[in-house]
Amino acid sequence: MDFELSDEQNLLKDSVERFVKDNYSAEARAKLSETETGFSRNHWKKMAELGWLGLPFSEEVGGFGGTAVETMIMMESMGRGLVLEPFLTTVVMGGGLVAEAGNDTQIEAIIPAVIEGELMLAFAYAEPQSRFDLNDVETTAKKSGDGYVLNGHKSVVYHATTADKIIVSARTGGSSRDEDGISLFIVDNNTAGLSRRDYRTIDGQRAADVTLDNVKVGSDALLGSEGKAYPVIEKIVDRAIAALCAEAVGAMQAAIEITNGYLKERKQFGAPIGKFQVLQHRMVDMYMEAEQSKSMSDMVAMKLGLDDVQDRRRSVAAAKAKIGQGAKFVGEQAVQLHGGMGMTDEYSIGHYFKRLMTIEMLLGNTDYHFKRYAALA
């Protein structure tokens, strides 16, 4: 039992932290999130050069053989600067699905390009009625000749706008909430019949609702076995949740440092407001949430490497529930302790608050994961 990073992992952490420090000042991030894509392709290229985009993939598929721990390290450091590049959607989710379920042709066509930073992916799993249930899929994929025809509506697909390919969950069998009968398809973003409504999200990122209207794909678009995608989706989403948890930890820690600094500078009643016990204790409560969140994030990164599936699911659910709660609390209180300054768009703390709030809702909110935890008992 050991929570310490290896020397190599410490180097990785330093390297990502340096990148964030050099490129993600509050001003630089604000500017970047206002651009058309909402992130920088130059940054993405740089991440590829540094080898980060290949780190989570195994050596068999051409990656650098990192584990969930390396992903955790990167996401935590990126969370500190609220990094905007689509690492989670392209590498952890999209790339993760292809590496897990893809055949040799698909892996060769996609993974090296992802690692090089030349191909971006998005994962369309949610639907208007599904809320957070990965098994609630009404989008259909009907066999037609040599391929399939897809129809349906996918909700809040992060980074769908800039993705070259969108991986879509669709039903090839069973009824709308069955785990059995769900399949995955790799769909080019410019395929006829696929339309997007692009929009901004409150965390400064980009997403889209995707409509599939008689979208025709070949049989080579099927990712994994027909009708058997659910366990794959659940596994990759669990990894993505762990990554999101790590991002939340980094963002919470940064929000706490910023707020703590403000408490030492801001003077009222002739003293720095950090001298007031009621504010000190609030800061301590925020600090304790971040500490516990860090422990849960580390725990879940390590558990992803173990074989016990039931234990993995329960640990992921517990971590997301606990961290979601903590993220919301830290974000809200960070704004509160800043007083009026916390309400401005210009100052950084509001941006942490907004990202922490979306992290709480993405991939299942706190209530959802408490229910999931209870159901797995």
């Binding site: 039992m1 929570f3 390590m302 606990k322």
Partner: protein, 398 residues
């Protein structure tokens, strides 16, 4: 980073399990599981069994009789003890004064007291708090005036747990009133049989006698019973308080409480169904379980940092605050699980005088006593508000 246990660790776990299954007396186990205080006789009997096995003081250095366990082994042992409802040694000797003696005591003191602690020859109690000095401990007034080879001690201590059973008390006393509060305190070991000491019971809100007042009237204490230097007692006192936080998270016991709650919830009824199917009740239990998991991994993370030679500052205060909050939520939920049978309650000495069985279900005997007693958990060992002050100052620099 790695959460897995080695083969040796698993073998160790089996060894602990086997030992507890064969050596833990049923009566000791039953009282602990219910959340009742051990009897003096039962506690001493069990501590002697633990000492014979060499497992009484896992946190002591090996040279003084510690176990030499790794961090992982300590975690495994604590987990198994909690699961089996096996009490650990009372803290006053093993966890509090013992480390002060082997860290700051002289050779004679080490040779005399440490084996007696391990063998449970002395029952220790803690003379820290005074009527006017609670969270503001350094303001204490009990005076010790030098007279030849003795100190003459006058004053009063309060909230002294199990002083009625004690053979020895370790005391903070004022030896210099002319300097800053913290600089005039000394640390004395006092025999409770010394003339001039009076112990008066304080009956708790649980109707039980665990707390006391201890009065000192011209009590002669040999100077050789002083730990370290005169007027340096505050340093030793703080060291002790730091150690007091070790294991204060009580994760293993809380895990056992979760198990008890699941069992009770299967038997109790709500809306004509098992309480275990009541979503409001189970929601509370699930949330405590998740918070307990976060506490457990936080404790492990800190242990891992320490075993890699990193110094912690006030991080263990997080364990104290969160651990005691969880203990209280659990006993509160245990009482809640009993429905109306939470209300019948008698102090143990009354209960034991009766011939009838416990009113209500058998598992109803215990939860209220523990629930009431553990209201102290957020007060003792530095109240949770004081812990927040410590984190604010030491970690956040406010």
């Amino acid at each position: 980073m790695d959460l897995s246990f080695s083969k040796e660790d698993l073998a160790f776990r089996d060894e602990v399990r086997e030992f507890l299954a064969t050596s833990l007396p049923d009566d000791v186990k039953e009282r602990f599981d219910r959340g009742l205080h051990a009897t003096k006789e039962g506690q001493v009997r069990w501590q002697k069994i633990l000492n014979e096995k060499g497992w009484l003081a896992p946190n002591w250095p090996k040279e003084y009789g510690g176990t030499g366990w790794t961090v992982t082994q300590k975690y495994i042992a604590a987990h198994e003890f909690g699961h089996a409802s096996a009490p650990i040694a009372l803290p006053f000797g093993v966890s509090m004064v013992g480390p002060v003696i082997y860290t700051f005591g002289n050779q004679e003191q080490k040779d005399y007291y440490l084996p007696r602690i391990l063998n449970s020859d002395d029952w220790w109690c803690q003379g820290y708090s005074e009527p006017g000095s609670g969270s503001d401990l350094a303001s204490l007034q009990t005076k010790a005036v030098r007279d030849g080879d003795d100190y003459i001690v006058n004053g009063q201590k309060i909230w002294t747990t199990f002083a009625q059973n004690a053979d020895m008390i370790f005391c903070l006393v004022r030896t210099d009133s002319s300097v800053k509060q913290q600089e005039g305190i000394s640390f004395l070991l006092i025999d409770m049989k010394t003339p001039g000491i009076t112990v008066k019971p304080i009956i708790g809100l649980d109707k039980e006698h665990s707390l006391n007042e201890v009065f000192f009237e011209d009590v002669r204490v040999p100077v050789k019973n002083r730990i370290g230097e005169e007027n340096k007692g505050w340093t030793y006192a703080k060291f002790l308080l730091g150690n007091e936080r070790n294991g204060i998270a009580r994760v293993a016991r809380s895990k056992r409480q979760v198990e008890r709650l699941h069992v009770i919830a299967k038997t109790e009824r709500s809306g004509g169904r098992p309480l275990a199917e009541d979503p409001d009740f189970m929601n509370k239990l699930n949330r405590i379980e998740v918070d307990l998991m976060a506490l457990e991994y936080t404790e492990l993370r800190y242990l891992s940092m320490m075993s890699h030679g990193k110094n912690l500052s006030a991080e263990p205060s997080v364990l104290k605050i969160k651990g005691t909050e969880i203990q209280q939520r659990l006993t509160s939920l245990l009482v809640e699980s009993l429905g109306m049978y939470g209300a019948p309650y008698e102090a143990e000495q009354n209960y034991e005088g009766r011939n009838e069985a416990q009113v209500g279900p058998d598992y109803g005997f215990g939860p209220m006593a523990e629930h009431l007693y553990l209201r102290a958990a957020t007060i003792y060992g530095g109240s949770n508000e004081i812990q927040r002050n410590i984190i604010s100052k030491m970690v956040l620099g406010l």
